[in-house]
Symmetry: C2
Subunit: 218 residues, 2 copies
């Protein structure tokens, strides 16, 4: 049943967990759907509905224990497990990923880095050496990567996806702005920030007068 | 009315436009909701429904002209306009953003770069010089940035958001893994790839046996 949670619900659970982590960081012990709602920019009704989808969390009227809800959210999201990740493409984007702070705390571990550029092979980032692209299938078998991050140019992304999928990877994070074709059972998460820019432009669209008026007012 | 299109619809329109661009690139002149569906990993029914939301696109039975649907999608998404962007935070992430190819073609132009690290100020990326953080309000007024990209560490993200909003920016792309508080009318798009990893872990969760069986089979 949990397999059928809509993508939007899963995304909201991720937001709730992020907020709960902030609550934990400041030592808060109890929270309410109202407090969680305010910090998550979601309605309290929506939060209660989302959480109810996965069973009973709190005691009616007395709110939630921050630690309990945090653990339950981690369990629901599969975050009590550890995931080994291979990055393919160690240009500036691949390198920037290795800087990202919030991965390790959720059990996401970068365990492999690959590039087809001989100038990148042998470089080390975060203690891991960049391997040549053609060693990917072999290293996949040795290191059992759970997830692959695709940080190569668009033209190479599908081929990289095919290689990862052939090696048994079932979860891909795709930074290239192309739609990937993968077999059933493989999940692709696009991280396309130009798509995010387009959602922003949709927000701003057709408001040039307002936009310019606002500017002149500053 | 268009203002009320659900976020999920807007996201799908962005996917359709990405596919249409691929069709344009190979010289395809006509398409159908079925072909668009296949390439977008969405049902044909959903596509017809999404497009109907914004009026009539094609002639019943004869499909869509690729050029017409492309232009309409650009208009709907506000992509026939040009948007000037300021990046705040010119570490590896900020630098990686300047490499991203697909921005210019949609009218997103990076026109300002800011960092609080004196070692970064004065460096040039993509022809733009990095300015000191405290010159941000002044430069905002001169250059009329439409959007701000926040590529600073989490601890600094809210302060940067406040500065951008005070300067009149109404659209923020946030790469820091924190929830930002902004006044009404300001839109924040989070680009949190750890959230994407969590959606992947939700997909893989509770399947260690399957995962390991799949591994051993390879």
């Amino acid at each position: 049943m949990q397999d059928q949670a809509p993508a939007a619900t899963v995304s909201r659970l991720i937001t709730y967990l992020r907020v709960i982590r902030q609550f934990e960081a400041v030592g808060l012990e109890r929270t309410s759907s109202e407090a969680l709602a305010e910090a998550s920019n979601v309605s309290a009704f929506q939060i209660r509905k989302d959480l109810a989808y996965f069973g009973t969390f709190g005691t009616r009227g007395s709110g939630y224990l921050v630690s309990t809800i945090g653990l339950r959210l981690r369990e629901i999201l599969g975050l009590t497990d550890v995931y080994d990740i291979a990055i393919v493409g160690m240009g500036r984007l691949g390198q920037a990923i290795t800087d990202y702070p919030a991965m390790g705390e959720y059990g996401f571990r970068i365990r492999g880095m690959f590039d087809s550029d001989p100038g990148k092979v042998g470089l080390e980032f975060a203690g891991i050496e960049v391997s040549p692209m053609d060693s990917l299938p072999t290293l996949m078998r040795q290191r059992n990567f759970d997830m692959g991050m695709i940080a190569v140019p668009s033209a190479a992304a599908q081929e990289v996806a095919d290689t990862l999928v052939s090696a048994g990877v079932r979860a891909l994070l795709n930074f290239a702005p192309v739609v990937l074709n993968v077999p059933e059972g493989v999940m692709v998460e696009p991280v396309d920030f130009v798509a995010s820019l387009k959602r922003l432009s949709y927000h701003l669209r057709g408001k040039p007068v307002l936009r310019h008026a606002a500017r002149q007012a500053t």
